[in-house]
Symmetry: C2
Subunit: 287 residues, 2 copies
């Protein structure tokens, strides 16, 4: 693996990750739909590319961290896309995206001698900033090992889960556990409040036992404060749940808890809350 | 508060709790539907009573730890029940039961000069054996303080939440958080398995992050092993969810995650799994 990385997608996550790679000594050529978001990186020595293809052309490794599966597909397989320009080397899609699309990209990349891995992350913007992401990898196993210096610059836990799509499947398993779990937290605290209890006292008491969860301890207090600021955006969670539902349907697996969570979040989104944090589900119950 | 306790209900939980009270120096008169379950306690010095009324008659405090709200109602308000025999002193219902019934008992007890508290627990049979229960108390606040020596002999966290029914409301908030959360855990692991991943590796990876929960860490491994042994019985969880749904409806609070969980557990129960542990929800997805 060489030192030249093409990095596509400089949002809150991608921007922080690209900085870590610069600091680790990689040479970055970056592309983003909005050029403004690249300014900090350019001032630190990254080069600019006008298209994904241009970012990919002379890079040993291309990393993508974009928004929706549609964006991933366009960036890899569309006009001026990565696979139009690149032969050999590696591609890493770190976007949370569809397992099926990961397989499609893997196959298309293989035809051009490119080793592809899907490597979505968990840990959010804080994990990206602190390089403490959990990175869930699927695809070419040799590539997984070869790319270790990149993964280690970005995350604290890096694990290989199997063939193309396995990183995405693992990320989906993570989101699925969160989805119904968020309903449990919001329902519990809504009930406590409506029953006239002190909901903070209830939260404190139940979070140490069998009802305990990351969501209860970390998002429960924000629910009770009415803090809707996004740690994780409702619109992104809806995207993830959509992907998870589609892929579960491909497997003929029925996941009613996930579907219910998606339905409630869709309702919040329709009420204009798509840019709020996922804890805002609490407001569904306060309606 | 005197030293004489009438203890009614000697199941797995009640039996262990009664032993701790004997060890703490209280004098126990016990009643249970099946006398056989009292044998150990009788051999350690507890006295036997043939009816709840007889157990209550000369006791300073009566503690009940029975099965369903119907049992609680009968034991307190039925023929040969506690309130038929007792005047003054204290009653503590530690059964997980209906908040509405707790208020009804509180009122009926008050008419006989009895201070009533509802004090359901969490922590399961292990918590009962090790005297590490969490005890959630509602009802008479002076009584809560007066009864501290009893609570401290049984649990490690004892907290007062407000008027009659508040202990039950708090316990319900606990069960509500667990209910939808269990679906999240079971759906996540079913999905991981069906996707061809190593579900143990997925569990290990996601349990440290935002998907983490007590249920995932403690019941997830049992799901994957096919271990259906009850830590907490499906039939008891269904009872709790029924109470929670009824009380949410009294408040005009809609809790779709809880209702969904109850529906899936009802289906398992109909398939003969009511005596399995709650982790057996995993099998709903494997159908």
């Amino acid at each position: 693996m060489g030192k030249k990385i093409g990095f596509i997608g400089l949002g809150v996550m991608g921007g922080a990750m690209a900085e870590h790679l610069l600091e680790a000594g990689f040479e970055l050529t970056v592309y983003n739909r909005t050029k403004k978001k690249a300014e900090t990186l350019l001032s630190k020595g990254a080069k600019w590319a006008d298209t994904p293809a241009a970012a990919a052309k002379n890079s040993d490794v291309v990393i993508t961290m974009v928004g929706y599966p549609e964006d991933v597909e366009e960036v890899y397989l569309g006009k001026d896309g990565i696979l139009e320009a690149k032969t050999g080397g590696y591609v890493i899609d770190m976007t949370t995206s569809s397992p099926k699309l990961a397989k499609k990209i893997y196959d298309a990349a293989a035809k051009k001698g490119i080793a592809s891995v899907d490597a979505p992350v968990s840990g959010g913007d804080i994990g990206a900033r602190n390089a403490t992401l959990v990175i869930m990898v699927g695809g070419d196993e040799k590539a997984f090992h070869a790319l270790a210096p990149i993964f280690n610059a970005l995350g604290k836990t890096v694990r290989y889960f199997g063939a193309a799509g396995s990183g995405q499947y693992t990320k989906m398993a993570n989101q699925i556990a969160i989805a119904a779990g968020m309903l449990g937290v919001a329902e519990s605290l809504s009930y406590a409040k409506k029953a006239g209890l002190n909901p903070e006292a209830v939260l404190e008491t139940i979070s140490g036992g069998a009802a305990g969860s990351w969501s209860l301890s970390n998002l429960g207090p924000r629910m009770l404060k009415g803090d809707t600021a996004p740690g994780f955006y409702i619109k992104h969670f809806i995207k993830d749940m959509r992907i998870a539902i589609e892929s579960a349907e491909e497997m003929h697996l029925e996941l009613p808890g996930l579907k219910l969570a998606k339905r409630l979040y869709d309702e919040l989104s329709a009420r204009g809350m798509e840019d709020c944090g996922t804890q805002t589900i609490y407001q569904w119950y306060a309606k």
